[in-house]
């Protein structure tokens, strides 16, 4: 699923490890999200949205829209 996660992380100068810790997931999970190798669960998508204080659809492109 296309997303702006890498961009948002770069804006804050966070490493994948730091973002993973903030979200409660592994660095591998962050990397998989950024490289579109993992579609997040609704729970994780909302955690990401809350962390970056943006709506989910602002971060993840809705493939069904």
């Amino acid at each position: 699923m296309k997303n702006k996660l890498k961009l948002l992380r770069a804006e804050r100068n966070w490493t994948q490890e730091q973002l993973g810790q903030a979200l409660g997931v592994s660095r591998q999970a962050v990397n998989a999200l950024e490289t579109e190798k993992h579609d997040p669960s609704l729970d994780l998508a909302y955690r990401i949205a809350a962390l970056f204080e943006r709506p989910v659809e602002d971060i993840f492109e809705n493939p069904h829209a």
Partner: protein, 135 residues
């Protein structure tokens, strides 16, 4: 299941330790059975079943360790681990089925059924590096 850098997370490190804890006794018993006559006197006796159970127990333990890894990991690691396990199990079962019917109908030489577990790990080692996506 040491791929996907599992050793980089606390859950992964626990999994690696548990794997060694189960693999070492399994390997020691197998090597002892194949290279020594230490267990020969158990053949045909009820104690032989106890020996068989002793070798099977670490296999069950490894199944628990894998489920524990999935329970203690994030959703990505959980899904990738499940995919790796399912594909490796399927390949091992397919190979065992192929060989079993080969024995029955094509005159293939008999191979012991316990080889399915090493076969599973061989399949796991082959496929795991290529399974990096949960999609």
């Amino acid at each position: 299941m040491l791929t996907l850098s599992k050793q980089h997370t606390p859950a992964g490190r626990r999994y690696v330790l548990r794997t060694f804890a189960f693999m070492i006794p399994y390997a020691l018993i197998c090597v002892a059975m194949m290279t020594t006559d230490a267990f020969d006197e158990l053949m045909g006796k009820p104690a032989g079943w106890a020996l068989a159970a002793a070798v099977a127990a670490p296999v069950v333990g490894q199944l628990w360790a894998t489920l524990a890894l999935m329970r203690e990991s994030d959703e990505f690691v959980r899904m990738v681990t499940a995919k790796q396990f399912i594909i490796a199990s399927g390949l091992a079962m397919a190979a065992a089925t192929f060989w079993g019917f080969g024995e029955s109908f094509a005159g293939a030489p008999h191979l012991p059924a316990w080889l399915i577990y090493p076969l599973f790990w061989a399949a796991f080692g082959l496929v795991a590096p290529f399974i990096r996506s949960s999609n």
